[in-house]
Every structure is written in structure tokens, then in C-alpha cells.
């Protein structure tokens, strides 16, 4: 059912936009050309579909899936439904990494950018996310127990620090760099290109595939670290892997789309209500629903004020923030006990 939903969202994503290019016409053209015929498709529409909407759709799927899955993994790791890379400062750390490359890429970090090419940006975002997640876990977890209050407070502090450092970098940036930086503040799939898909795609695909190995460990961790170890889980190695996975997924997503919030918290929570908390099903379902949700939000973002478009981060926040408050309200009693 989620697969169908994603397919529908994908078609919607291809079909909507400021231009009236028709998907049906393009698909017809693809099929005709595949069969060796000559398609009658205007060059303009072909470019709009093939080079603008299609990469945007693919990027939307990748980013949506990785945001939702990194949220689900992080919630499992911290044993708390409120953990989300966007809320506890991991995305801010990843942004700091990405902004460093944009601003310092031509000067201090030029050897890095020369060496890593298009992967420098996602890699730097990954490093930023990794450092944040690791610090967060170290600060908020003591003797296998994670304190929610400490986690949220530490996340706020880490996020603020990362944003302050990002602010310093933005202050140093020149005009061209500022243009590049603007979209980080809002989060957007606009400007999706095939090269962005190539830069982030492999990382995200590897991460999504590897989460299937984390599922049973995350299940065991819901009983606490000690019990997970008693049941045979190599807890330390597992935590390290999970942290790297979260950082890689968040870093790759942030590198190509900026800070899109709330997908990582809304999607897993909704799915736990629908299909239960078993991570073996929760993780793949999160990927599918996250992708669908982001594609839909993107479709709304580019049509609601057409021909201009809203940053997608605004759409996800408008939907996600009230949802987050609703979770807090429902869990208020439980939170007080932790």
C-alpha cells in the first residue's frame, strides 16, 4: 500500500509545476523512442521533465526516505519518540559542515574540495552530523540510560553552537556564496540536478540498505542497553554503527536539500500507530512514507504560489510542528516520569 502511495506521489511530483508540461506526453515519448520511433515532444517540455522534474522527483524520494529513516533509527537508538536529527541539532551540525565547504571550499579547505569533488559537500555534512550525534549521545546517555531532558537540552545547545558557527561563516561569505547558502536556511528541493542526485544518491542508498541490519538490534535496544547486551547484541559496536548511519543519512539529505524539518519525527510516529513499533517493518515503511510525504509536500510547495514556489521546509514545518506539539501533549504524563 505504501509502495502504491509512493508511486502516486511520484506521478504527482512529475505532473505538477509551474509549467504545463504533461507527464502523459513524456511517458508516451519515452516509450516511442524506446521502441525506436521518433517522438513528437517539444524540446522545452522534454527538458522540463527530464532535467528538472525527474531529478527533483528522484532527489525528493532519496531525501524523504533518508530523513524519515534517520529519524526512526535515532528514536530507536535513544529509545525516545522525540529524537529527531532536526530537533536535537544533528541537522544543524550537518549544515555547519556543508556551509564550511561552500564558504571555505575555495580557500582553507581547497585541498579537500579538489580531492573529493562533488562528494565534498555531502561528506562534510556527514562529518558535521557525525560529530553532533556522537556528542549528543555521549552527553545524554549515562550507564545505558538516556535522559530525555538532557538529550533535548544538549541537542538545543549543540544546535545553537552549530548555528552560531554557521552564522560566522555566513558573515565571512561573499555574494556568490551567500546565494548558495540561502537555501540552507529554508530547505528546498529546488535546484535539484542529476549531479546532486549522483552526489547524495549512493550514500543514501547504502544507508537505507544497511538499516535492515540495524532493525533487530534496535528492537533489542528498546529494552535498554544492558538487556540488549544480555540478549547477545554487541551494544557498543551497534551504537557506533547506528550513529554513523544517522549522520550519513542526515548529512546526505542536508547537503542536497538543506534543513527540511519534521519528516523524521512525523513519519515514524505515524507508522508506529499504524503498523506497530517493530523496526523490521518500521524502517522500510518509514522510507516509503517519508519519500511519499516529501514528494507531496514538494508538489504543494511548487503549486500553491505558482509560478513562484515556497521552500518545502515551510510546508513540512506547517504540517509537522503542530503534529509534534500533539505528540508532546499526548505524552506529557510519560515525559514527566522520565
Amino acid at each position: 500500500m505504501l509502495v502504491l502511495l509512493l508511486a502516486a506521489a511520484a506521478v504527482l511530483s512529475l505532473a505538477t509545476g509551474a509549467s504545463d508540461a504533461s507527464v502523459a506526453a513524456v511517458v508516451r515519448a519515452w516509450v516511442t523512442e524506446l521502441l525506436g520511433g521518433h517522438a513528437d515532444l517539444s524540446a522545452r517540455n522534454r527538458i522540463i521533465i527530464n532535467d528538472i522534474r525527474l531529478p527533483r522527483m528522484v532527489l525528493g524520494v532519496l531525501v524523504g526516505a533518508s530523513l524519515a529513516v534517520s529519524g526512526a533509527v535515532m528514536q530507536g537508538l535513544f529509545r525516545n519518540p522525540l529524537a529527531d536529527p532536526g530537533i536535537v541539532g544533528v541537522s544543524a551540525g550537518a549544515s555547519l559542515g556543508a556551509v564550511s565547504v561552500i564558504v571555505l571550499g575555495g580557500t582553507v579547505l581547497s585541498p579537500v574540495t579538489a580531492f573529493a569533488g562533488i562528494y565534498a559537500l555531502p561528506f562534510a555534512a556527514f562529518l558535521g552530523g557525525l560529530v553532533s550525534t556522537f556528542l549528543l549521545y555521549r552527553v545524554s546517555t549515562r550507564q545505558g540510560r538516556t535522559s530525555v531532558a538532557t538529550m533535548l537540552l544538549a541537542g538545543i545547545a549543540l544546535g545553537a553552537l552549530a548555528m552560531a558557527l554557521t552564522g560566522i561563516l555566513i558573515y565571512l561569505a561573499d555574494d556568490q556564496q551567500l546565494r548558495d547558502l540561502t537555501f540552507w536556511n529554508m530547505g528546498s528541493l529546488a535546484g535539484a540536478t542529476w549531479s546532486k542526485v549522483l552526489a547524495a544518491g549512493p550514500i543514501i542508498v547504502v544507508v537505507l540498505a544497511s538499516t535492515s541490519l540495524l532493525a533487530s538490534g534496535l528492537n533489542a535496544m528498546t529494552l535498554g542497553e544492558a538487556t540488549a547486551r544480555h540478549m547477545g547484541l554487541a551494544v557498543q559496536r551497534f551504537k557506533t554503527t547506528a550513529i554513523v548511519v544517522v549522520a550519513a543519512a542526515t548529512g546526505a539529505a542536508v547537503a542536497v536539500s538543506g534543513g527540511i524539518g519534521f519528516v523524521g519525527i512525523v513519519v515514524p510516529h505515524l507508522l508506529r500507530l499504524l503498523i506497530g513499533p517493530d523496526h523490521r517493518y518500521l524502517l522500510p515503511a518509514s522510507a516509503l512514507l517519508g519519500a511519499s510525504l516529501l514528494l507531496s509536500a514538494d508538489a504543494v510547495a511548487r503549486t500553491i504560489v505558482a509560478p513562484a514556489e515556497l521552500p518545502i521546509g515551510i510546508i513540512t514545518a506547517v504540517v509537522g510542528a503542530p503534529f509534534f506539539l500533539w505528540i508532546l501533549l499526548r505524552r506529557r504524563g510519560v515525559l514527566d516520569m522520565l
Partner: protein, 265 residues
């Protein structure tokens, strides 16, 4: 067997257990008793592989610090004093965790059957579909025991006896279920497995234990058969309380001992 020699355990800078010495052989229930804060749970945690220690703790001849988590998981299962569950899992899912993460080696038994059998054994038949968090404390404790039983269902795997480590397994149970759980432990040892349990109830300790370890201020004060250990002088000094073994209370007050319970049904 489990062999603890000259074991000292520190948490931070504080020495919690000093020079512990005892052993637990398969086929026996070894009970650890002692006042609050005497180091019982800390000692059990170290034996479970949760804490660093000085000295030696051997499980079947191998130092546990050198064993991998899954190797330990094949040889022993641990029931913690209290468990919290992060997400709303059902009873069936919680019990099944005992099967999925440990390499339980319960060949020949379908896992779904095992879940049902384990729940049946802890007197929770029919609870499979319920949400864990909706259960009472005592019921949750028994669900956890069912999970633990699933992990090491066969008391002997190959020719290696396995162990149950139970930290206050009956602390929140009514007396009927206390007896049921202690009977499970006894049956486990009768079939060749070993049990180490931390208990507070001295009557049940004397009823079910084969060996008793008495702890006070982090030290082992006595280790031996219950009839040798549960006696006035030792109990009075360890529990700092004027206990008298076998003394019938002055006429008037009712007293109920688990020892006098008739076998039911």
C-alpha cells in the same frame, strides 16, 4: 559452572563489592541475600558481563570479560530487577525478542510455539496480543521472565548447562506467582541448568535454594546450604535486626508461610 574468585567491583571510585568468592554449579539454585546496598545486584551485574571487575569470574572455565556478547547470550539469560520498554510493543513481541537477538539454539521448536509455551509457564497464557505497557508491574515482570526463558529454553545445550540470572524475580508478585516462578527455577535446575537469584524473601530462600550466599557491605559473609546459613547469629548480624529462625510468633497474630502452602490443583 560459574566460579567467582577474589572479585572486586568498583563503580566510579567507590568499591561496591570486595573480594567476592563463591561458585554456582548447574543443577542448583544459588541464592544471594543481604540487606539493601550490600552489593547483591552489583555482583550479579558483573557476572552478567555488565561491569568491569578485578579478580576472576569464570563461566564454564572461560573468563567472562573475554566472552563476546552472543557467546554469553547462548550460555545465560538475565532477568533485570526492573525493565522499561521504549515503544508500545505487544507481549508476544517482547517475549519474541528473547528468540531473535540471542542465538538461542532451541533447535526443533517453532519460535511461535516457544513464545506461547513460555507465557503459559509464567501463567500468562492468552496475554500474547496485549500491550506490554498496559500490564501491571507483576505481569510485566512475568513477561520479562518468559522472554528470558525463551533465550535459554533448553537448560542444557549440547553438553553445556545454561544459566538463569534472576535479580529479584519475585519482588512484585503475589504469593501464588512467587511460588510458580520459584518452581520454574527449580524445574530448570532439575533438568540440568543453573540458577543464580537475588532474593529478599528469607522463607522462599530457605525453601528453594541449594546454596545461599550472604552479603553485607559488599563482602561475602557466608556461603553454604540454607540450613547452615539461615541461622540466628548470622542473620542478626547481617540484617542488623533481631531475627529468630523458626520461632513461632506469640499467640494472637496470624502468620502465613510459603512453606505451608498445599500443592494446588
Amino acid at each position: 559452572m560459574i566460579d567467582v574468585k577474589n572479585t572486586t567491583i568498583r563503580i566510579g571510585k567507590k568499591e561496591i563489592v570486595t573480594d567476592a568468592d563463591f561458585h554456582a554449579v548447574p543443577g542448583e539454585i544459588t541464592t544471594i541475600i543481604g540487606p539493601n546496598g550490600s552489593g547483591k545486584t552489583t555482583l550479579l551485574k558483573a557476572i552478567s558481563g555488565d561491569l568491569a571487575y578485578c579478580g576472576s569470574i569464570r563461566l564454564h572455565g572461560r573468563e567472562i570479560a573475554s566472552l563476546l556478547p552472543w557467546e554469553m547470550a547462548e550460555m545465560r539469560a538475565v532477568l533485570p530487577q526492573s525493565s522499561s520498554l521504549a515503544f508500545p510493543f505487544t507481549v508476544r513481541e517482547v517475549v519474541r525478542f528473547g528468540l531473535t537477538t540471542g542465538r538461542s539454539g532451541n533447535a526443533g521448536k517453532l519460535s511461535e510455539d516457544l513464545v506461547e509455551m513460555a507465557l503459559d509457564r509464567v501463567d500468562l497464557a492468552g496475554f500474547t496480543g496485549r500491550f506490554y505497557q498496559e500490564l501491571s508491574g507483576g505481569e510485566q515482570q512475568r513477561v520479562q521472565l518468559a522472554r528470558v526463558l525463551c533465550q535459554v529454553w533448553e537448560p542444557v545445550a549440547g553438553d553445556t548447562p545454561r544459566y538463569l540470572f534472576l535479580d529479584e524475580p519475585i519482588s512484585s508478585l503475589d504469593i501464588r506467582h512467587q511460588l510458580i516462578i520459584m518452581d520454574i527455577a527449580r524445574a530448570y535446575t532439575r533438568s540440568g541448568g543453573g540458577v543464580i537469584a537475588v532474593l529478599h524473601d528469607l522463607n522462599l530462600t530457605s525453601m528453594y535454594s541449594d546454596k545461599v550466599l550472604v552479603m553485607q557491605h559488599g563482602r561475602c559473609q557466608a556461603f553454604g546450604a540454607p540450613q547452615d546459613v539461615i541461622e540466628d547469629t548470622l542473620l542478626q548480624s547481617v540484617f542488623e535486626c533481631g531475627l529468630r529462625v523458626g520461632a513461632v510468633p506469640a499467640a494472637g497474630g496470624a502468620f502465613v508461610l510459603p512453606q505451608s502452602a498445599q500443592p494446588s490443583q
